[in-house]
Amino acid sequence: MWQNCTSMKITSSPTQPTTLTCPACGLLCDDVLLTTASPVAVKVACAKSVTFFEQTYSADNPSFGIPSVAGQTTDLNTAIKAATDILRKSNQPLFAGLGTEVQGMRSLMRLAEKTGATLDHMHSEGTVRNTLALQNSGWQTTTLTEVKNRADVILAIGTDIVSSHPRFFEKLVWNTESLFNKPVPEVIYLAAPLNASGENTQAGISPAGTQPMVIPAATEQLPEIINALNALANGKNLNIDNIAGVALSSLQTILEKLKAAQYAVVVWSASNLKFAHAELTVQSITQLIAKLNETNRVAGLPLNSGDGDTSVNNTSTWLSGYPTRNRFTNVKSGGKPEYDAYYFSTKQQLENCDALLWVSTFNAHQPPPDTGAPTIVIGHPNMQFTRAPDVFIPVGIPALDHTGTMFRLDSAVALPLKKLRDSNLPSLSQVTQKILDILSC
């Protein structure tokens, strides 16, 4: 399966595919070009993608790809055994981080079923806000190819889109070819967090130089602002000039543009809505969309946060019946899944768990949270720690060291990830399977 050694070797894969699927954000661009495999170099990629593919081997990190137990380097089998011991002793393990793809999540679910673990993703705050809105009222949404070919108005609420999804405008808004000869889209930013120079909305300037409509407001004011938009959409008269500093006339303009559009798309990023009961604001956005669809065509596009959150949410749902933040009980009789979007959060469970398994295979810079409980990290080979976990098992990076499958932010599309090089790093699934094997005997 893999070599059990204490040094890291990377050789390039003999077959070099030319196009790659980039897992570095929820757009999952699969047009990224591999120029050389050793070292990995890419083009047609954004800076985020270049960082993901190219900063994956670091010669100045002597412990790159090397397992450790209690901070001391060791071999893989010893590390796996130490991790198994921790899980065997644990009654309430927490599997968190979950930075992985479909196959990795499948294996973690099997291990969770066996050990009675609680599962939560590192970016679940945003996921859960959307899920709660979905569970309260449902929604009407669209997907990337529809945006590319139909959207003539893009309303971005509380997000600049590009900070989290860099190639959104390049690929889906300013495309010159579209199926139905749609006009160049109008872009509206409502309460997008603006950086000092305002340059984060530059992606919304059309190639011909048309400026986007930028309506500044603090993100925390969105509940009031969206409620007002809903009131206007329902034909209510609001006898005020402004809401939370936003002129009522601006909101009227937004509404008119949404109604005049052939196909308007409303984009939000739930992870940006960092205030209490933000799920109600998501719900308010989806209600606005539902109202407009009585007569027009408008669709929502919820952004995700990355590190495999959409893949993990989907895989969890079909395997257990429940989306992110669930756990298994009744381990002896096969494992019964339970769901609690609040109580099974990492934050809540860190206080109760007696072991933490932290997973981050895409990202070297997502360390585990501090906890008194014994901590196992299965992660990116370039992870470095200020406080060493009890066990560190470096594993292959999906889309570099092994194949896999990932879901795009719209959940409609799942794409295969390629393997670019031969490393002697095991995959997360292989490590998890090995732990399961030891636990079963």
Binding site: N136, G321, T405
Partner: protein, 558 residues
């Protein structure tokens, strides 16, 4: 290793066997001839008095892909309803489960525990096919497969609008079958899912799509011809226009003529058999539909029976589901436009026996079942989970086989609905042989599984053994034994061994040059590469559990 099933009462319509006592020998997963006396038999099951049938095949059940996963996410409360009995569902028995959205493991387990050994996902959106196969790969015990949805995808609509020749359409359809690892082609509200994206809210059979200026009839003609000329077994699977709308039976009758006599399968026909008579302007058109079904030999249909209780409707028909969303119970729904490929609508629904419309829907489904003269052309489905969860099949079988049970249930319905149905005037009771046709031999024939659905020599040894009981619901809920590919996997209604099943596909020959134009289309308009649209065999088999079976490219006969 040789296994002997001894003295069972065999119901094998594919071989004309109606309750004959016969032995079955199994070797290496296959049914074999009686071996020579010198050969050692490793295991013998004495099945004296037991009913033996091939494993059942569900030819239409939403078991994999985005829609059901959306339903699971939206309705976590359903997971608590596994053994739930609701007051208004008083027709149900303890065997009924109301888990409309089981996880993949439960899906496989519940199917095999009822003696089903295969199920087909009828609405694989080509762009979402990878997810459908991922979910089906995680569904244990049973074989699976699916029908790829076409007819609202812009690539096809552009071809049709540009009057591309039939050969080009055929090549595209075949390419889709390969790329999505499907065994059949489905069309949902022909053209309507696309029309909804252009803000059209209704599309009749002869009405034009506002952008492409083509009608559903043209779409049906083109796709049914393609499927026929490619020679795959499964006829075009048709979800008609106007799903669920009062008066839609006329659309359904006209749709039967849209293929000019080429085979078509009209799915969940119960939902398309509504008239507009009576005070409530909603009535049964089962008589008209049944008459036409009996007459039109090129048409097959599955019923899509509703049963009372909580469920969720999950359909590719975003246009009609958007309209139905106002009846959502609980009040929430998901409507999606997807990838210039299709769409979906997920709307939870609670069928109540005291609701006039629901009660009549229940009666309409049964009227259709009981009026079908040819059991080879009608199939037992609830359109899981749209009419009811598949776990209610044993209950449905009893309704078909037991007239007094059926009439007792009918007597509890909404009184106005009772007045509008002639169900109690129908005396027919299905026989075990006819049930075996509907759920085994006919289904295998329809989908094109030549080595399943029968107990003849050479067949795959998917076999279900029941105790003959007067209570047919109890009987079909809990088989004594189920063999999957020759292995004993269920004993006394409980799984004793976990297996994973295979994926059935059809891969007719086609001209690969079709990819040239497709590549150009993908590069210009899509958001993924053409190569990533295609699902390789490895993706299905590389976890070591799944495998792909390719079925021969020819029409079956019985």
């Amino acid at each position: 290793m040789l296994t002997l099933l001894k003295n069972g009462k065999i119901y094998d319509p594919a071989r004309g066997k109606d309750g004959v006592i016969q032995d079955i020998y199994i070797r290496d997963g296959r049914i074999v001839n009686k071996p020579s006396d010198t050969e050692k038999i490793s295991r013998t099951y004495d099945l004296a008095g037991k009913v033996v049938m091939a494993g059942a095949i569900d030819m239409h059940s939403h078991i994999g892909g985005g829609k059901i996963n959306i339903a699971r996410m939206m309705l976590p409360e359903f997971q608590e309803t596994r053994k739930y009995s609701e007051p208004e569902a008083h027709i149900c028995t303890p065997n009924c489960s109301h888990d409309a959205t089981p996880n993949t493991t439960d899906t496989g387990f519940r199917y095999i525990e009822m003696g089903y050994t295969a199920a087909f996902e009828p609405a694989i959106m080509p762009i979402n096919a990878r997810q459908a196969h991922l979910e089906m790969a995680d569904t244990p015990m049973i074989d699976k497969g699916g029908y790829a949805m076409l007819g609202s995808d812009d690539y096809f609509l552009r071809m049709l609008a540009a009057k591309k020749d039939q050969k080009s359409i055929n090549d595209y359809v075949a390419w889709i079958l390969h790329a999505t690892q499907a065994i059949g082609i489905k069309v949902v509200n022909p053209g309507g899912i696309s029309a909804f994206k252009f803000n059209q809210r209704k599309l009749d059979l002869d009405e034009n799509h506002s952008y492409y200026h083509i009608s559903p009839r043209e779409i049906l003609k083109s796709l049914s011809t393609a499927v026929h000329e490619l020679g795959i077994a499964k006829p075009l699977h048709v979800h008609c226009n106007n799903l669920g709308a009062a008066g839609n039976f006329e659309t359904t009758l006209n749709t039967m003529g849209a293929s000019d006599g080429l085979p078509m399968h009209l799915t969940h026909i119960q939902f398309h058999s509504y008239g507009t008579e009576g005070d409530k302007k909603f009535s049964s058109a089962a008589a008209q539909i049944s008459e036409a079904l009996n007459k039109n030999k090129h048409i097959t249909a599955d019923v899509g029976q509703i049963l009372f209780g909580q469920t969720v409707t999950a359909s590719g028909d975003s246009m009609m589901q958007h309209l139905n969303a106002k009846h959502a119970n609980p009040k929430k729904s998901v409507i999606m436009d997807i990838e210039c490929d299709a769409g979906c609508g997920v709307v939870p629904f609670k069928y109540r026996d005291q609701n006039y419309v629901n009660a009549l829907q229940w009666a309409i489904g049964l009227e259709i079942f009981l009026s079908a003269e040819d059991p080879w052309r009608i199939f037992l489905t609830t359109d899981h989970p749209n009419g009811a969860p598949f776990t209610s099949y044993p209950h449905l079988i009893r309704l078909l086989m037991d007239k007094s049970f059926r009439n007792e249930a009918f007597a509890k319905l909404n009184l106005d609905a009772q007045a509008m149905s002639n169900l109690t005037s129908i005396d027919r009771e299905y026989s075990l042989y006819e049930i075996a046709i509907m759920t085994r031999a006919g289904a295998a024939n329809l989908v094109g599984l030549h080595d399943r659905g029968h107990l003849g020599v050479g067949g795959g040894a998917d076999i279900t053994v029941y105790t003959d009981q007067l209570d047919r619901e109890a009987m079909f809920s809990k088989p004594d034994y189920v063999f999957k590919d020759g292995e004993l996997v269920v004993k006394d209604g409980k799984v004793v061994k976990v297996t994973w099943g295979a994926t059935h596909t059809a891969k007719p020959a086609f001209d690969i040059s079709v990819e040239k134009d497709l590549k150009d289309y993908f590069d210009k308009y899509h958001t993924i590469q053409l190569d990533n649209f295609k699902i390789s065999d490895d993706e299905i088999s590389n976890d070591g559990r799944g495998s792909v079976i390719v079925h021969e490219n020819k029409q079956p006969s019985h």
